[in-house]
């Protein structure tokens, strides 16, 4: 049994990488194919260099790898099954960290809002 405990730093890198909508979209596209950096640059209203920076952030987080083929640089996710499973667990963790944060937020609200509703009966 391998209990995987990512270091805080590695987790932070993954979360930082996934915090941006463009990077999530890039990752999404890499799951479905192996787009080149220049093809990605055509998709978004930003410069080639800006897209390259986004790809570099994903790369540092270990979410994608770059491979040079001819004049193209192909971007792809790691196809290894274990790492895919890990990605799912990471995303599940990220999703639930978000949810737990929102739960804590609701619980911290002053008594005249949600907490009041909860203690005096159901809303709606």
């Amino acid at each position: 049994m391998v209990v995987d405990e990512l270091s805080d730093e590695a987790v932070d890198r993954v979360f930082h990488a996934l915090a941006d909508a463009t990077r999530r979209d890039i990752l999404h596209r890499c799951v479905r194919g192996e787009p080149s950096v220049s093809r990605l640059a055509d998709v978004y209203p930003m410069s080639f260099a800006a897209v390259q920076k986004h790809v570099a952030v994903l790369e540092r987080a270990g979410l994608v790898t770059k491979e040079r083929r001819g004049r193209e640089q192909l971007v792809r996710t790691d196809a290894d099954a274990v790492s895919r499973a890990r990605t799912v667990l990471d995303e599940l963790e990220a999703a639930w960290r978000g949810r737990v944060g929102r739960m804590a937020d609701l619980l911290a609200q002053p008594p005249d809002s949600e907490r009041h509703k909860a203690s005096t009966g159901r809303a709606g």
């Binding site: 990752l27 999404h28 667990l89 995303e91 999703a95 804590a104 159901r122």
Partner: protein, 172 residues
């Protein structure tokens, strides 16, 4: 920090998350038991969730959808297997078709939730288990990237910002 530990077991395809809240068990339970409260935290601010059916009883069903910035909707459902207020809830979480009926082709995740009181606060333990490696792979291809990562958007803020900033991102 609400999340105090996350243990991922890639071999056994499971994840255990432990969180602590500075609120009594009954209030944390209400976050799950009251559909109006559930929809305030289930989806991220960019994809607010709407809970339609909410039957917290064994065999009961919870159905919901999340609405994205472009108006696109992702549907999901829970099948409740155990409910013991205000301490535990177990359910299977799955994806649904656009008409809200469960999509049997997509994998499901078993979720066990337990609340324990401690020093006036509450400890919440969540266990997630996947049926098989294929299910996880499928989740990655279909589910995870379509539904889960939308919650990720807030991750950075949640980890890096203080509570005041968080409230700012959660329109109420």
């Amino acid at each position: 920090m609400s999340v105090i530990s996350v243990e991922k077991d890639v071999d056994n395809l499971s994840l255990i998350l432990i969180a602590e809240f500075d609120a009594p068990v009954e209030l944390v339970w209400q976050l799950w038991a009251d559909p109006r409260q559930l929809e305030r935290w289930w989806g991220p601010p960019t994809h607010p969730s709407t809970v339609e059916k909410h039957q917290l009883a064994p065999g009961g069903e919870v159905t919901y959808f999340m609405t994205g910035p472009g108006g696109e909707k992702s549907y999901g459902w829970w099948r409740v297997t155990l409910v013991s207020p205000p301490r535990s809830l177990e359910f299977t979480d799955g994806f649904a078709h656009q008409d809200g009926t469960p999509n049997a082709d997509l994998p499901t995740t078993a979720v066990q939730m337990r609340l324990t009181g401690q020093d006036g606060g509450t400890r919440m333990e969540l266990r997630f288990s996947f049926g098989s490696r294929e299910h996880m792979d499928q989740l990655e291809r279909w589910g995870a990237f379509d539904v889960f990562p939308q919650s990720v958007g807030q991750m950075d803020a949640l980890l890096a910002a203080d509570a005041a900033d968080l409230r700012h991102t959660d329109p109420s």
